[in-house]
Symmetry: C2
Subunit: 324 residues, 2 copies
């Protein structure tokens, strides 16, 4: 019953039948559009899997789980405006397909609708969940602000970068698992462990994203390999390389960053070689494994029968092993 | 104790000491900025005055009241981006002083912080208030979308216009009073009457804004008299004039609307004269009085001693009589 494929099917049905509102259409059509672009729905899935460890009845967890996904898509809609992104999952972004005003206002309504999906939470859990949702939501915005700040800075440290992705990405995964635990009826210590699991896995996922963008298999990776290098995106790899490079290697790296016109393939190859010389690939892989190990350790530390957490562990293991 | 001046002082103190967050400063400074621009704080005052009808202890109503004001300022921050407004209360708007990205993201956090101010609501009122807040918030966004839609339409009807300002302006005043009633412990019928009062007063206020923009006393009115005429803003007056004008009067009105270059004073005088010929001023005044009368009737229908609602009635009367 708590098999991920089964829960995903339930979630997809709920999303398909969920009404965000109708009139004016200019406001609600973009919400249906972005929610229909797909995505793996793995955040709400984490909520349901965490809840299923503690409860056989997931009906009360369904809407709060959806609220995590609606919130996540709200951040995508607004981030895409700020990042001037033309595409989202291969389709035009909302501000491209409509305009920035529409993306601002539809996004605002999505955030409100995320709160709507919390309305049926049992009275006794209301304050705790609303408080944690607010806190997480604000942290995600703080992460986005830091990410934008970093774009114009050349001296971002590893610590600052980890702090930024923790806010922008990880806290929401932590909250997704925590939320499931609370709704399932987990004790305080287990809720804390679930949050820590999501937080650490999230850091691992983001670093893996950074890594795959450079060293991913082009036949498996969904996006253009090397896109981050071409755009000088301040990823974990670039920050490490800027810290570790010395002498001519540093000069060369800085030259490629400063160049305004260049051959894409040439730049990707050159920077990739610098990363390899500096051992950035191995260093990043090691970090990723550390975060994943910490996350899995938190899940293993949950004091319930193994059979109850098997579905969540299997699902998380799949996420860890993904190569795109 | 429930004198408006006294309650306003309490509110101002709370706002001054309230923390919206600190880091990153780029995110929180614009929130402190827009909240410091002033404004009459009359929405949270309405909440406190409504609560004071039913309860002597307003401590629990204070933060929810502030939440209405934070939400209102969130809408101003985002609306100003959409409307490309350079000034707000005589000072640069957030997207002008910083940039649009900052205004988007700071606004998002403000909306989240508005929900934070609801955390201490008693358990038994949580669901009702969160539900009504969400509903109202979404309606305000719907109103802003309709307002933007109307800008590019030439056939907006009076009914559509009233529907738009009801959403954009009135429902939040209705909610502000309703919220106070719920928190104060009013019965269902009284809560309904408080909402209706705010809704009708709100319609009156917005029409009065439209009227004062054309017929206000320049020495009392805060903004440039005639600004709406210069900008072809689809106000109640213009919509009525477009509906009522016939023959040469209609041709002349449409000529002024279509003109791309003109002398501001000349256009204001000409359109004002058309309004006068059509009796728009008197018609609008009559509508305003009708809405105010309905709003006041709702307040008079509240089944409590007159002495309990005196403060609210006096305050509302002042709002009705304002000339700026």
């Amino acid at each position: 019953m708590n098999k991920p494929e089964h829960l995903l099917q339930i979630l997809q049905n709920e999303f398909e039948n969920h009404s965000y509102g109708e009139e004016p259409a200019e406001l609600y059509e973009p919400i249906r559009y972005i929610m229909s672009l797909g995505g793996k729905r793995f955040r709400p899935l984490l909520t349901l899997l965490a809840a299923s460890i503690y409860s056989y009845d997931l009906s009360l967890a369904l809407k709060p789980a959806m609220s995590v996904e609606v919130f996540h898509n709200f951040t995508l809609m607004h981030d895409d405006i700020m990042d001037r992104a033309p595409l989202r999952r291969g389709k035009p972004t909302v501000h491209e397909k409509w305009n920035a005003n529409t993306a601002i206002l539809s996004g605002d309504v999505m955030l409100i609708r995320a709160y709507d999906l919390l309305l049926d939470i049992p009275k006794d859990q209301f304050r705790q969940i609303l408080h944690r949702f607010n806190q997480t939501a604000a942290e995600v915005c703080e992460g986005q602000q830091l990410d934008m700040n970093f774009e114009t800075r050349s001296n971002v440290t590893e610590e600052e970068y980890i702090g930024m992705i923790r806010l922008k990405t990880s806290v929401l995964l932590g909250y997704a698992l925590e939320l499931g635990g609370i709704l399932g009826g987990a004790d305080e210590e287990s809720v804390r462990l679930l949050y820590a699991a999501g937080e650490n896995m999230g850091l691992g996922f983001q670093l893996k994203d950074d890594l795959l963008d450079v060293f991913g298999d082009p036949s498996k990776f969904g996006k253009q390999v090397g896109g981050d290098i071409i755009a000088n995106k301040k990823t974990f790899l670039l920050i490490e390389a800027l810290t570790k490079a010395e002498g001519t290697l540093k000069t060369e790296l800085e030259k490629w960053i400063a160049l305004e016109t260049f051959d894409n393939d040439e730049k990707v190859e050159a920077v990739k070689k610098i990363y390899e010389t500096l051992g950035i690939k191995e260093f990043t892989e090691q970090k990723i494994n550390e975060y994943f190990a910490r996350g899995l350790a938190s899940l293993h530390a949950l004091k319930v029968e193994n059979s109850r957490k098997e579905a969540l562990l299997t699902f998380v293991q799949q996420l860890v092993e993904r190569e795109k």
